[in-house]
């Protein structure tokens, strides 16, 4: 039985200490701990040592957990917010009521009788609250906290290498410490001296070192997939500024100046202004009285100053309409997948910025039926075979439609909006043919395809997640690359 020099050196070292972890042994040998583990597995194959692999879990608090560790669990905070009893209706106004009331009831801290929440007095701190203060101690409360997503588990693998009596016997018999070849040199290969060398053997039992390739973010990869589909379908890509005048973001799309979506609480306004384009009067007239179309317009007032004010674009439709204004002659097929802004607080399903996909088709004789045909084709190519349509409402399209796709685990899921641009939108720019338009929140598809429940992960990326998510997302269903560009 042959041992490599490194195996012999390890065995020699082990004979002195009997048992140690790879890090200690690595220091003694001047090699990496991973190599020590490799050598140890080789020795273990021959029964000269044992390698114990132990996976240990440690627990630490999540961001939410840390907050509760400081401030108390929601039910504890809620309990402290009133004296002996309180009307349920009043208690529900407490910001933590949604989580807290159910938990207080479940834990028997309170009973609810006739709409009144009464303390029972049995509310001493539970196991979960003890575990919250020190999750590393484990204990019965920990499982509860994990269920509530307040602690997260971190797994760590440790090795312990111990010499066996056979190993000791081997060392006592004396080890031949003559050289073995690890890495072949150019000289050895070229000269042929490799024929006389003893080449060290590696074990397949030791796990390989994990390396992480440079890679495109999984979400970007999905966006790339959608981009390819649209390019294949003959669409040209458009791109433009994140900052737009309210004119292009709203007025040009016939959104009345007093429309709720234009209000400060939904849109990021900027103090900057942008000049209105030539011919803006046609848009103004459309708002005031319907211009030269059969429309009545919105009536009321139209303020130039409001139109000049800048916003962070709330949809990429602001780019589509500018593209159409610059290319009023048919045919136009264009798309854009890019970032848009809404004034929303950050939570697992809402973000103030996210990606939107938008496509437009303008041509002679295109109809509502073509719009539905397009939507079906696009969603089919995205991997959704069931597509259906419902009436919808969007201020700048008429007719409007809400497409829904069938997701086996969820049923019918609303997937964006579509319609034909109103004449009030197209007429001021001299666009004489119908414009089919549709848009969707790309992140919604990303969550479905990547199995995420928290949108934030897409942007505040845990690179561990990025590293572990395979680059190929197409496996396991009918979306085969070659079928896409028929």
């Amino acid at each position: 039985m042959d041992l490599s020099l490194n195996e012999k050196r390890l065995l020699h070292l082990l004979e002195g200490v009997k048992s140690a972890d790879p890090e200690t042994l690595a220091a003694g040998m001047g090699v990496s701990p991973e190599s020590v583990t490799q050598f140890a597995y080789l020795l273990a194959d021959r029964g000269l040592c044992t390698v114990e692999r132990e996976t240990r879990s440690t627990f630490h608090l999540t961001e939410e957990g840390e907050r509760y560790a400081r401030e108390g669990l929601p039910e504890r905070q809620l309990l402290a917010s009133f004296e002996k009893s309180i009307p349920l209706q009043e208690l529900t106004r407490h910001p933590l009521a949604r989580i807290g009331i159910g938990q207080m009831k479940r834990k028997g801290w309170v009973v609810i009788r006739g709409g009144i929440v009464e303390k029972t007095g049995r509310d001493s701190p539970g196991d979960d609250e003890r575990a919250l203060q020190d999750p590393s101690q484990g204990g019965p409360g920990l499982e509860e906290l994990r269920r509530r997503n307040l602690v997260a588990e971190h797994q760590e693998t440790r090795y312990r290498i111990s010499i066996t009596p056979e190993g000791i016997e081997w060392v006592r018999r004396g080890l031949d410490m003559s050289e073995e070849t690890g890495t072949l040199t150019r000289e050895q290969i070229v000269s042929g001296s490799w024929r006389d060398l003893k080449l060290r053997k590696y074990s397949l039992k030791a796990p390989p070192r994990r390396v992480y390739p440079g890679k495109i973010h999984p979400y970007q990869r999905l966006i790339g997939e959608m981009r390819e589909i649209l390019l294949c379908m003959g669409f040209s890509e458009i791109y433009g500024g994140l900052v737009q005048s309210a004119f292009w973001n709203f007025d040009a799309l016939f959104q009345p100046q007093d429309h709720p979506a234009r209000e400060m609480q939904d849109t990021f306004y900027l103090k900057e202004t942008m000049p209105l384009p030539g011919g803006y009067e046609r848009v103004r007239d459309m708002h005031l009285f319907g211009g030269e179309t059969s429309s009545t317009g919105w009536g009321g007032r139209w303020s130039r100053e409001r139109a000049e004010q800048c916003v962070l674009r709330t949809h990429t439709t602001s780019l589509s309409i500018q593209h159409l204004a610059n290319h009023p002659d048919p045919p136009v097929k264009a798309f854009c997948i890019n970032r848009v802004y809404r004034r929303e607080a950050v939570d697992p399903t809402h973000l103030p910025e996210f990606e939107q996909l938008e496509g437009i088709v303008m041509d002679k004789d295109v109809t509502f039926r073509h719009l539905l045909g397009f939507l079906k084709e696009f969603y089919n190519r995205m991997g959704f075979s069931g597509v259906r349509f419902r009436p919808g409402y969007f201020p700048y399209t008429e007719p409007s439609v809400e497409p829904e796709v069938y997701v086996p685990a969820l049923g019918w899921v609303e997937m964006g909006g579509a319609g034909i641009f109103r004449q009030e939108v197209t007429a001021p720019f001299g666009i004489r043919h119908p414009v089919l338009a549709w848009g969707l929140g790309v992140s919604r598809i990303a969550m479905l395809r990547l199995g995420l429940s928290d949108l934030r992960l897409l942007y505040k990326s845990d690179i561990g997640w990025v590293r572990e998510t395979p680059s190929w997302l197409g496996g396991g269903d009918s979306r085969v690359e070659g079928q896409r560009c028929r």
Binding site: K215, H217, R227, L242, L312, T367, E398, K460
Partner: protein, 546 residues
């Protein structure tokens, strides 16, 4: 969007259709079902259809859609003899008034709640939070006509709803919950709108609160409706929607004299639409008879008027019908969205990527090849990230949002590098080496510019690594660079370089300053590069044009 509660029993009685059929068809007239319960369903209707914000309105539409009662619903209005005057001093304050008398109402607790629900939904959708239109409903028998809508002194007092003492108008704005909520609409005017009766008693302080005097109860038999606002059309729409809903419950609608006019008339408006145009828009063959039949289902009056025209009578409550295409959409809904056969348009075009997106794509490819992993940081950030922690001054050109939603997101990024360091901090516990990159837009002034940046952190990350990556990236992007010493305080002096192309600085690279690492709580050296992708050959000349 307003959520309307529909009780099956009431809706079944109004429509003569069972609940299962109703539930299947509700989404197909344009609504989202929020929740299905034992005895009711909560439905969200689109803001363009305020006429569906009541069970009566829904029943009216469903009867047409299901073919049980089609065509224009007819409403008769008789004069009430009640007069209402409008004070010219209201011209700059809240000039428009709508009104109606509704007799023989049959109110119980539930129908009062339903009426209040309709009122609230209209305040939201038509009234824009009461600023454009506010609605008041009163017990007519508690007051004496004629009525006056006046601009009153702020010191005038009355007993507002839910209070038992008199309060001045200003006092109401300060103390009454509704006053506090809606004070912003009237606060800046010299006088406030007020509705009074012949004996100077106050009915309402629109758009804030009614008087306790005219409170509507289960014993109320006759109603006076007022709508006030800044938009004449919206004020009239609110009256039409409430009157038609109450008329459908069996009440009698009577008009009121305001100046020269008798309102409401509840009469339809007429439009002549082309069936050829409808056919071309929807892609289905439609002659005037077919189009008329579809529109009758949507409760229009409709009859063929010539070889390709249809005379359409639009019900008074359909304020959303602005254009012929609005009518055609209703024809499509009546036809059934599920019955359209989708078809790809024959339009032939050749797709092409946008040059900026193409540059982004190749930059991603290069950086991946160099071993970097992509991240997609937010574009909204703050001064601490962009400047303080980077030891950099905040750029004058930084774009700030006017009403940030949190302290974290007050401005748009001017650089990518700070966001990458933030990403390193977030991932401190992850295995080294970490090589991260981002490509994406930054904003300077109001201009959107494409950038790329990368960082590498591990125990032996240094200037040479940054220089090698910067050099490789520029070579691969065909950007010819000159390198000079940089003075960027985010980097270590003597370990930093400026990338210049055609006499213009286009990037920076080097080893991040330890003080910056400390600020980000990073424990290992970081080599970093950031470049402006406008320098890449083929970048379109006019940034920002689609």
């Amino acid at each position: 969007m307003p959520v309307i509660r529909l009780h099956y029993r009431y809706l079944e009685r109004m429509t003569g259709v069972d609940r299962e059929t109703l539930l299947v068809h509700l989404p197909m007239i344009g609504s989202d079902i929020e929740r299905i319960e034992e005895d009711h369903v909560d439905v969200e209707f689109f803001p363009c259809r305020p006429d569906l914000f009541s069970a009566e309105g829904v029943a009216r539409a469903m009867k047409g859609f299901l073919g049980r009662e089609t065509g224009l619903p007819l409403y008769s209005v008789t004069p009430s003899g009640v007069e209402f005057s409008v004070d010219p001093a209201l011209a700059g304050i809240r000039p428009f008034l709508g009104s109606a008398v509704i007799r023989n109402v049959n109110l119980d607790e539930e129908s009062i709640l339903s009426l209040m629900g309709l009122q609230e939904a209209l305040h939201w959708a038509v009234g824009r939070g009461r600023s454009k239109v506010a609605i008041g409903i009163h017990d007519l028998d508690a007051v004496t006509p004629p009525f006056s809508y006046i601009a009153a002194e702020k010191s005038r007092a009355f007993v507002p709803l839910d209070f038992d003492r008199e309060m001045t108008l200003d006092g109401i704005l300060q103390e009454h919950p509704k006053g506090k909520a809606y004070a912003h609409i009237v606060r800046d005017f010299p006088r406030y709108p007020l509705i009074i009766d012949a004996r100077e008693r106050v009915l309402s302080f629109p758009p804030i609160i009614n008087g306790e005097l005219t409170r509507v109860t289960e014993r109320t038999k006759n109603l006076l409706l007022d709508t006030t606002g800044t938009d004449e059309r919206a004020v009239a729409t609110a009256v039409d929607i409430i009157c038609t809903a109450l008329a459908d419950t069996g009440a009698t609608i009577q008009s009121v004299t305001i100046g020269e006019r008798e309102i409401p008339t509840l009469s339809p408006s007429e439009r002549i639409v082309s069936s050829d145009e409808a056919s071309a828009l929807l892609g289905i063959p439609l002659d005037p008879a077919m189009l008329s039949a579809l529109l009758l289902k949507m409760r229009y009056g409709a009859e063929p008027a010539g070889p390709s025209n249809v005379r359409v009578l639009v019900p008074c409550y359909r304020a959303d019908i602005m254009h012929d295409w609005d009518v055609f959409e209703d024809a499509a809904i009546a036809y059934g969205y599920g019955n359209f056969r989708g078809e790809l348009p024959p339009t032939f075009t050749i797709g092409s990527p946008h040059p900026v997106m193409a540059i982004y794509a190749v930059t991603r490819e290069i950086l991946c090849g160099l071993g970097f992993q992509e991240v997609l940081p937010f574009t909204l950030t703050n001064e601490r990230v962009l400047a303080t922690r980077m030891q950099r001054p905040l750029k004058d050109s930084v774009l700030r949002v006017l009403h940030p939603i949190s302290e974290e997101q007050t401005m748009v990024r001017t650089d990518l590098l700070p966001l990458l360091l933030e990403m390193c901090q977030l991932n401190k516990h992850r295995e080294l080496p970490q090589r991260l990159f981002a490509v994406g837009d930054v904003v300077e002034g109001t201009e959107t510019l494409p950038r790329a940046a990368c960082v590498s952190t591990h125990p032996s990350a240094d200037f040479s690594e940054a220089y090698a990556v910067a050099d490789a990236l520029c070579r691969e992007l065909a950007v010819t660079i000159m390198v000079t010493e940089s003075d960027d305080p985010a980097f270590i002096p003597g370990r930093r370089g400026t990338l210049a192309c055609a006499g213009r600085d286009i990037g920076v690279f080097g080893e991040i300053h330890p003080a910056v690492l400390n600020a980000w709580e990073l424990e290992h050296p970081v080599a970093a590069v950031e470049i402006d992708l406008t320098a890449v050959p083929g970048y379109p000349g006019q940034p920002g044009t689609p």
